[in-house]
Symmetry: C2
Subunit: 335 residues, 2 copies
């Protein structure tokens, strides 16, 4: 199995990306090979520091780097030799099995849509994220700011395939994120979605309020990307804030206590909320496996994202989504 | 000053509501009087347990209780003698200065709109909540699932008056909740709102991402009620989840440490995230001060909500909103 990794994407690229790739290759049990895309000399320098295994990690040279001055929709056209576009092209050409990047979400989304295209029947690709504290996947968390009911249904189907294959849950229970449990609550498209999902999905458990996401009642929660993205970022801001408070309490000289024990407990609790454990977000619905990592990802997050991507290749996630969606298209037409 | 309190609204009514009222009267420095609306005998029984000061707390008898079988929009018509409707009527008739309830948000919203009406110029009343961990007010958190740009502008104006009068911030900095900082990000109405707020509000600081709500950059964040409500409930679910984890760590027998010190630290940190401190949510934009408390509010939250309501009466919040909105209406017409 070969995975292309965008060595130039992310706040700490290329060093942490290269580190993550080296760690992933070392930990993988799947004979994993990685192709790092980006500026050859810079990548080489990092690899040599880490003891480069040239059989397992190769470099695909790309002279350009995506930056925020180019609009996401223009990246393929204006930056054809960027590490991001080159990585997705390797995937399109079948030279690799998946693509991982910690670059701009918008740029990855636009470029993947343009170069790979959508899986047949998929109306809108969506971004999913696994939340370890809740033990569920949320979809969409940023690809679609405005949605129709039938998009929410497709998010549910794609994310259910993800939970089935990646977390071994055979019949994932699906909830629709909403501001109340009653079927008539929320935005108009959510009311329609409640009705559509009730008819089409045997495992639809109705509306779920955000406060109940931690109760283990469901495995998949669907929402539009505007709400999902806001929730995800709110969670992220909160973790940082709480961590700051904990640090300030632990370094306070007034308190006399076993600080290392306290630190251990806090670390245990906070870890559950961190994206590093699951690594990143899958872009579901395009013809190829694309993983989007947080721009601030440390090496451990990159490593976990690559290993998670490798698992999705083994599980043939794209093919499962294709099947799931094709079954649903027939059902939507009936309803 | 007299405040009507719905003694029958909330998960633990009437006991905790009556306790909160008694505590508020004892702590208030404003010669506060309270009229409890609801079932007379039940309320009397609770008051007598607590040493009833009949000069400061009176009962307005109401024979009905709002329950979830009646649609919010039908409460005024079908339950005219409910504690909720009677309380709002006292406010409308000028017999009290404000109304506080921990009953159904939808029922309070509908009944207040119907009985009190909107302040002149206000297109959509909105619910605001103060988040102590962020030191800011968020508006809307549940009254409007779908909004236009000009609604978001009005939320900003109303919530700014709130911050000015309730938290002594003379020129509150306003942010628009969005999924990116750039002006062209997010839903269509948010892009329009960014442009409108930039023109009309001197203190508009642009888009703010949910992860940055804890950074103290802004005093007011505006959003639609669907996103706001989801964020608020997500935060609530998270507090409960973290508290559960802390408790399980503290009761674990394996660990040998100073558990009481640890408990103190957690309590300090978690308190900042709890609604009890600020008490509840103001319904802004109706002709009268209405405070909506969380259904699960303990007595301390009810007490804080009543005291906060009393402050808003002293600050003449309704009149300030009327002035702020009337100025803005002229500006919107220009733009």
């Amino acid at each position: 199995m070969i995975i292309a990794v965008d060595a130039m994407g992310g706040d700490h690229a290329p060093p942490v990306i290269v580190q993550g790739a080296v760690q992933a290759v070392a930990e993988s049990k799947d004979k994993l090979q990685i192709i790092l895309t980006g500026k050859k000399q810079k990548i080489q320098k990092e690899l040599e520091k880490l003891g480069w295994n040239k059989n397992l990690i190769k470099i695909h040279s790309a002279s350009q780097v995506v930056d925020s001055t180019v609009r996401p929709s223009q990246v393929v056209k204006q930056l054809p030799d960027s590490s991001l576009v080159q990585g997705i092209k390797l995937l399109k050409e079948g030279k690799v099995d998946a693509f991982v990047s910690a670059g701009s979400t918008g740029a990855i989304l636009s470029s993947a849509l343009l170069l790979l295209g959508r899986i047949k029947g998929v109306r809108r690709p969506a971004i999913s994220v696994y939340l370890p504290a809740s033990g569920l996947v949320m979809c969409d968390v940023g690809a679609n700011t405005e949605v129709k009911a039938h998009h929410l249904l497709q998010f549910a189907i794609m994310a259910s395939e993800y939970m089935n294959h990646m977390h071994c849950i055979e019949e994932p229970k699906v909830g629709l994120l909403n501001i109340g449990e009653e079927a008539n609550k929320g935005r108009e498209e959510y009311v329609k979605a409640h009705s559509l999902l009730s008819k089409v999905l045997p495992n639809f458990k109705g509306n779920v309020e955000a406060r109940d996401l931690f109760k283990g009642k469901i495995d998949v929660v669907v929402c539009d990307g505007f709400v999902g993205n806001n929730l995800l970022k709110f969670a992220e801001g909160w973790i940082h804030h709480v961590r700051g408070e904990v640090t300030s309490q632990l370094t306070s000289e007034e308190k006399n206590m076993d600080k290392s024990a306290l630190n251990d407990i806090f670390t245990d609790i906070i870890r559950e909320y961190e994206y590093e454990e699951s690594g990143g977000c899958f872009l579901l619905g395009v013809k190829g496996i694309c993983m989007i990592c947080h721009g601030a990802s440390p090496a451990r997050a990159i490593k976990n994202a690559i290993l998670s991507t490798a698992q999705s290749v083994k599980e043939n996630l794209v093919e499962s989504i294709r099947t799931g969606i094709s079954l649903s298209v027939a059902q939507i037409e009936k309803n």
